[in-house]
Amino acid sequence: MENLYIAPTPSSPEVDFKFDALRLSLRGESYPENAAAFYGDIIARLKDFLAQRQGITLEVHIALAYFNSSSTKMLFNLIEALSNAAEGGSQVMLHWYHDEEDDTILEFGQELSEDFPAIDFSTHAVEAP
């Protein structure tokens, strides 16, 4: 399956899904005009990949400095897809990065980890740039 790379813009994150290396990352800020359209294709590609490859060990890095309400919803859907794969026998390690002073993103990550216990979550505080 072909890797997926989308360059960042001021309001959308860098998407770097290296399917061949089993390493996916999202980095930057996320408030695209139409989050459903932006993430819809990304989630579809991810689901295709997860349907093709089972029993894998996948490493996911999510380092978003800010995401708006509609991006939050789409991130939830993306992580739900990863959780389904984890329940189906793959191992998913999700690294969740947050600004050391940003409790909102940390708390959202913690909530996700409670919702999706099949995923191996770890949170990382990063220093503000």
């Binding site: 408030y31 800010y66 309400s69 509609s70 919803k73």
Partner: protein, 190 residues
């Protein structure tokens, strides 16, 4: 040659902004590019002013939700109603500093009269909710299908309400001179 007439004629407008401690104001058409550029300006301004990080985050988040609401829902659009990307719609946003150092975010845009009533019901219910109920509704909405007709996730107002110090205030001005559509105002204290 300098003309004192300019100060006489237009000074009151700038004076009023100073009086209201306006730190950011934009009126005009909103596009995604404009919102991203404003986001930069607001972020820089709050950093330079030394505003505490949690307050900055709340202001920034609420600002983006308000600005994107204008792109999605203002009744004054330059792009066709069927278009849901690259939209251009009219409204205004304002950030002002309160005497106690806290902030007020205000936005205004014309809205279809039929949607105004729906919005009133929704926001009145939101105003009655406690912070715990707001967080609960947020968690629940996140796990539901996006509501019909919503271009976001139906979570924008909940997101702003979660970060505000007081219940969100809103109003509809049906006598606005700018057109027939009522003007929707929203105010968040951060």
């Amino acid at each position: 040659m300098p003309s004192p007439m300019i100060a006489d004629k237009y000074g009151s407008f700038f004076h009023l902004a100073r009086e209201h401690q306006v730190i950011f104001y934009y009126v005009g058409y909103f596009s995604q590019h404009i919102v991203a550029a404003m986001a930069d300006a607001v972020k820089l301004q709050l950093e330079v002013a030394g505003v505490a990080t949690p307050t900055r985050r709340k202001l920034f988040s609420s600002f983006i939700e308000m600005a994107q609401n204008i792109i999605h829902y203002s009744a004054d659009a330059l792009t066709p109603a069927s278009q849901n990307d690259g939209e251009l719609r009219h409204g205004s946003v304002c950030i002002r500093r309160e005497a106690d150092g806290s902030f007020l975010l205000l936005c205004a845009n014309p809205i279809e009269a039929v949607l105004a009533e729906e919005l009133r019901v929704k926001l009145e219910a939101l105003r009655k909710m406690t912070m715990e109920e707001i967080k609960q509704a947020y968690r629940q909405t996140l796990r539901e299908e996006a509501p019909e007709g919503s271009k976001g996730a139906g979570m924008g107002f909940l997101t702003v309400a979660r970060d505000a110090r007081q219940p969100l205030d809103f109003d509809f001005d049906t006598d606005d001179a700018s057109g027939d559509a009522p003007v929707f105002y929203l105010k968040a204290a951060i």
